[in-house]
């Protein structure tokens, strides 16, 4: 008993919250280091070094605890705490959360011990029974017996070291490894060497060591080995995928020696029947790919379809579609994972959410004070901007005609806006909107070619083309064509230079040239005198697929039909009416034309979606809401200048209504996008910004309704304006309603995981801003204890909500990853980023609850959440590695650095000022 007590002492120490606090901090640092290291050494190596190990060696000498150790210590401490603690109803939430964390750690431990993964590469019609592990190499000695059976001896990594002698009871000869390189350059001699002690392989090839590649599948292992049989002694050269077979003969027995990726044999066979890639209409972008396979286990067989996000599970193995190799015959690459602890995360995450919810319900009512106020409704009268030169086609149904562009069917209005944006830099002209511009381009070439629409911002190009300098930098098609004709001898050779070798001017001049060609093609859509393929307005009429064609393509690719004939006839009539400037006729024909276009595309293009998009285009909901947010912020600022308390309240109220109204428009914008694209609100980085800003504003509105002191309005307007402004930068890149990468093309997980995690981001930002307010208020008036304490409580509440959504979002992401790739957690940068946010919030909460973190530092920590969120949201994309690297953006590095450093300096100086002030007031403290 005494022994047990002494044994329990260190465990008791581990169970102390301060210790957990320190361990968690260390784990966070480890997580950051491990994520950053992935850039240099790759995901697998970083994972092994930082997380799947007991210690790491820093600076070649100091061993420090790493993943396994820290998580083990946390597990032990938490287990003891859970058992020794009193189980009460009031801390049921905490207890359940702790239990689920125990479960998660336990499951993770099981997974890291007993799971394996690899790749299965199968050509169409072939059968495979093994998987390759790219990370490991093995040396195999295969004995080929006469009846065709192969006896295999496999020697894994641990055997493969230079100067290592290998004797094995099943191998009748000795191997002496001379050199072994994990990544080698293999060169073939022009003339084989003439050395007696060399085997043919060593006579023909020379190997030399080269640095390791980050991606393990790119490394080619090689070795030289001396093989001693009772009769002879020869030096062999071996490398992966060697075209030559290395054979050792002893008496009648034949042994084949091979160096290859480690193979693991499965208890069943997989045959690939057919592999298919689906692409978005008229593009090369894969929308999904799938393998039609046959699983054979003894006498039983199952036919199954493996596709993106839809793996097949059998006997504990998960087979999912990883990638494919394009070539003469289709080859699929399936990733195979055997994860024993697969279900642990599911159980623990359900528990975790239950626990957090219980905790939230017990806690939150105490944290936020309530006061009531009604949200009245406001109506906005929206008038469309002044338009048109002569004839206005934008009021007719013409703008709703469906067009296919970049794989998506959209109203011709959107098409016109994108094209004009590309040529002009803005999606409208001073006295003409995009759709009128397009109509002119199509029907009235004489005027269209003289309209100044091309934007040439660089003066040196204007000079090079000998154009007149103009203040607005806009030039007509005619002017540019005349200019480029003169300089065609200098433009044409640029095409041959590689893109990254061209100068900025060369690129710009070439782009201008392409733009004019593109413009000319659009203008000639209905003249059939050139291969105009841009305006794709006719869906496939004969075959069973989703292609769309331009008028020229219809006639020249044999796609014409009675329906297209009627449709083109209408276009011709419209063109005539346009030239005659007959407004009434234009209106009637447009109406008919739109009806025809819908008939052509069958029921596929929904009427309401096209109309909705046209409305969305004209309202510009996000720009409009930004204007409202800024207005609201200005009014709020003004209200603080007013001395009269009553008029201050009135101003605040008006400001609140404007903010709410902006949020309604903002919400309508997001809902329209969802309806148009038939997908959840967040699918791209751009959409994530829009959504996060809406969420933070909604939270601020709720907050304001409860507190009613203007703080919620302040938080909402600041976050809303900032994020909306940020999103504007993305919307200038063209169509923000783009199609998705195959892996993202699944609505269920996007709807759950991405939405939850972005709500989490939004809540974190609200909490972060509260932190800022706390620091400033405390500095201004450190004696307003009641006010400050209330703020701390509010911060705790916001942090709890943020933690709930972040944790839920991260876990849902893990479940998605498990469903799609067969593993719950892969230490991918974005996953780590999400976890960092969770851990940071947990760390702060524990610090505050136990009193380890003083209110001032807690406030500073909460304020710093903004930086952590920014890093996890945008920063990890900069690494350009991992599963989420599709969100990669080049130009945000500087902005992110500026944001983070300003925040950091701001918060640090506020903390310093606070401390200074306290000391000044009370030198003893």
């Amino acid at each position: 008993m005494k022994l047990l007590k002494t044994l329990l002492k260190p465990v008791q120490f581990l169970a102390r919250t301060e210790v957990f606090f320190a361990l968690l901090l260390w784990l966070m640092l480890l997580l950051i280091a491990g994520t950053l290291a992935q850039k240099d050494i790759g995901l697998y190596a970083a994972q092994t070094k930082y997380f799947n190990s007991f210690y790491i060696i820093v600076a070649d000498t100091i061993p420090l605890p790493s993943g396994y150790t820290i998580m083990g210590l946390i597990f032990t401490g938490l287990l003891y705490k859970t058992i020794s603690e009193k189980w009460k109803l009031s801390n049921l939430g905490t207890l359940v959360i702790h239990l689920s964390i125990l479960m998660l750690l336990f499951g993770g431990f099981i997974t890291s011990l007993f799971s394996s993964e690899g790749n299965m590469v199968i050509e169409e019609g072939m059968t495979r029974q093994y998987i390759n592990d790219y990370h490991k190499v093995e040396l195999v000695i295969i004995e080929q017996t006469k009846n065709g059976i192969e006896k295999i001896v496999a020697l894994d990594n641990t055997w493969l070291k230079p100067n290592h002698k290998i004797t094995h009871k099943n191998i009748p000869f000795n191997l002496n490894i001379i050199t072994y390189y994990r990544n080698a350059l293999v060169e073939k001699f022009n003339k084989p060497l003439n050395k007696k002690s060399y085997h043919t392989s060593s006579k023909s090839y020379r190997i030399s060591s080269i640095p390791l590649e980050i991606e393990n599948e790119l490394n080619q292992a090689a070795m030289t080995v001396k093989i001693t049989t009772p009769k002879s002694e020869k030096i062999y050269t071996l490398f992966q995928d060697m075209p030559l077979k290395s054979i050792v003969k002893i008496n009648d027995k034949i042994f084949r020696i091979e160096l290859r990726n480690k193979r693991t044999y499965l208890p069943f066979k997989v045959k690939l029947n057919k592999f298919t890639v689906d692409r978005y209409a008229n593009t090369n972008k894969a929308s999904s790919y799938s393998s039609d396979v046959l699983l054979r286990d003894g006498d039983m067989a199952w036919r199954s379809q493996i596709s993106m996000n839809e793996p097949v599970r059998y006997k504990g193995y998960t087979l999912f579609q990883s990638s494919y190799i394009e070539g003469s015959s289709n080859t699929t690459v399936l990733a195979v994972v055997n994860n024993v602890g697969r279900l642990f995360p599911y159980i623990s995450s359900i528990l975790l959410c239950i626990g957090l919810l219980i905790h939230l319900f017990v806690r939150i009512p105490k944290l936020i004070r309530k006061s009531s106020m009604a949200i009245p409704l406001l109506f906005l009268l929206y008038s469309s901007p002044a338009n048109a030169n002569g004839i206005d086609i934008s009021t007719t149904n013409f703008k709703n005609i469906p067009v296919l562009e970049n794989g998506r069917i959209k109203p011709i209005d959107t098409f016109a806006r994108h094209k004009l944006l590309a040529f002009n830099g803005k999606d409208s002209l001073p006295k003409m909107n995009a759709i009128n511009w397009l109509a002119e381009t199509l029907f009235d070439h004489k005027n269209a070619y003289q309209r100044k629409i091309f934007n040439i911002p660089n003066p040196s190009i204007i000079n090079a083309l000998e154009l007149k300098q103009r203040d607005n930098h806009r030039y007509s098609f005619k002017e540019i064509v005349l200019a480029t004709k003169k300089h065609l001898n200098t433009i044409k050779p640029i095409e041959k230079i590689k893109k990254n070798r061209r100068t900025l001017e060369q690129n710009q001049i070439l782009n201008l040239y392409y733009s004019t060609v593109n413009y000319y093609e659009i203008s000639r859509s209905f003249t059939y005198d050139m291969e105009s393929q841009v305006l794709k307005i006719i869906p496939e009429q004969w075959e069973n697929d989703n292609d769309w064609f331009s008028p020229w393509e219809v006639l020249n690719k044999g796609k014409g039909s009675p329906k297209t004939a009627v449709f083109f006839n209408q276009w011709q009539l419209l063109s005539k009416a346009y030239k005659n400037k007959n407004a009434l006729e234009i209106s009637t024909i447009s109406k008919d034309l739109y009806k025809q276009s819908l008939k052509l595309s069958g029921n596929k293009t929904q009427h309401y979606k096209l109309k909705l998009e046209a409305v969305y285009n004209s309202i510009k909901p996000f720009k409009t809401s930004l204007a409202f947010y800024i207005l609201s912020l200005i009014l709020l600022m003004l209200s603080t200048l007013l001395l009269n308390n009553k008029s201050q309240k009135t101003f605040q109220k008006i400001s609140f209504y404007i903010l709410s109204f902006g949020a309604i428009i903002h919400g309508i914008g997001i809902i329209s996008r969802m309806v148009i694209m038939e997908r959840p609100p967040v699918t791209t980085l751009y959409e994530s910004i829009l959504f996060v800003s809406l969420i933070s504003i909604i939270f601020s509105i709720i907050f304001e309704r409860r507190k009613n002191d203007g703080m919620g309005i302040f938080i909402g307007t600041v976050l809303g304006s900032f994020l909306q402004f940020l999103s504007l930068r993305y919307s200038t890149e063209g169509d923000t309603l783009g199609m998705l990468e195959a892996v993202l093309n699944t609505n269920f997980w996007l709807a759950t995981h991405v939405v939850t995690i972005t709500i989490g981001y939004g809540c974190c930002l609200v909490a972060g801003l509260l932190g800022h307010i706390y620091l400033v208020k405390r500095f201004i008036n450190p004696n307003a204890k009641k006010d400050l304490n209330n703020l701390i409580k509010n911060m705790l509440g916001a942090t709890l909500i943020a933690l709930f959504f972040s944790v839920l979002g991260t876990i849902l992401g893990g479940i998605w990853a498990d469903q799609s790739w067969g593993r719950f957690w892969g230490w991918d940068p974005k996953e780590n980023g999400a976890m960092l946010i969770c851990m940071w919030l947990v760390w702060l909460l524990h610090g505050r609850i136990t009193g380890t973190l003083k209110p001032l530092y807690f406030g500073a920590g909460i304020a710093l959440t903004n930086v952590i969120v920014a890093l996890a949201w945008f920063g990890v994309n900069l690494l350009g590695i991992g599963l989420h690297s599709y969100g990669f953006t080049n130009n945000i590095l500087l902005n992110l650095a500026i944001f983070c450093s300003t925040e950091f300096i701001f918060i640090c100086s506020l903390v310093a000022l606070n401390i200074y002030k306290i000391k000044k007031v009370n030198p003893l403290s």
Binding site: V312, R313, G558, P562, A565, F568
Partner: protein
């Protein structure tokens, strides 16, 4: 204390057995769904001017189960080359399939000249009452009704006078594939 430990152990055992159960479960089979067929378009009403006879050709009045409406021109070498195989196909099908050849030549004479050349070259195959010869005056049918500019193009029309398919460019009319296709339409 003991109760707590027992609860914890029980908790871990239940979740572990759930994990184990999952390991032994059967594969999730995903049924393979075939893409649905396009709805068929009815053949518009067209009156074809005969090349040499006096009666207007009307496909809607024809009794053959399947009609091949072939757009050709005397100047189009590939159209001329594939013609004999089409004649043979009609002969093989024994009255079930009709061929309507519609010349898009500018003049009737040019088309007639080509017809006479066929007659000389393939006397055995061309004489079939299921082969109809038409001329598209002013390209009213080809361009204005069907948006067809390039030849050869052939539209397959089923028993209900719906257009089932369009064959664009050269096609091997002697192959088994076209015979299978015709059988599948029936």
């Amino acid at each position: 204390m003991n109760l707590k430990i027992i609860t914890l152990v029980l908790f871990f055992i239940t979740s572990s057995s759930a994990v184990l159960y999952d390991q032994l479960s059967k594969p999730n089979l995903i049924p393979y769904v075939e893409t649905h067929k396009k709805t068929l378009e009815p053949l518009p009403k067209i009156n074809i001017t005969p090349l040499f006879k006096s009666r207007i050709i009307n496909i809607h009045d024809m009794n053959e189960k399947i009609v091949l409406l072939n757009f050709w021109a005397s100047w189009c070498s590939i159209c001329v080359v594939e013609m004999n195989d089409m004649f043979k196909l009609i002969n093989d099908m024994g009255g079930e399939v009709a061929l309507v050849t519609l010349s898009i030549d500018d003049t009737q004479e040019a088309a007639l000249k080509a017809y006479n050349a066929f007659k000389e070259r393939y006397p055995n195959n061309i004489n079939n009452k299921h082969i109809y010869w038409g001329w598209d005056k002013d390209k009213k049918i080809s361009l204005n009704t069907f948006n067809i500019q390039k030849t050869p193009e052939t539209i397959i029309i089923d028993n209900d006078k719906n257009m089932t398919e369009k064959i664009v460019g050269v096609y091997d009319w002697s192959s088994n594939a076209i015979r299978e296709k015709i059988h599948s339409i029936k």
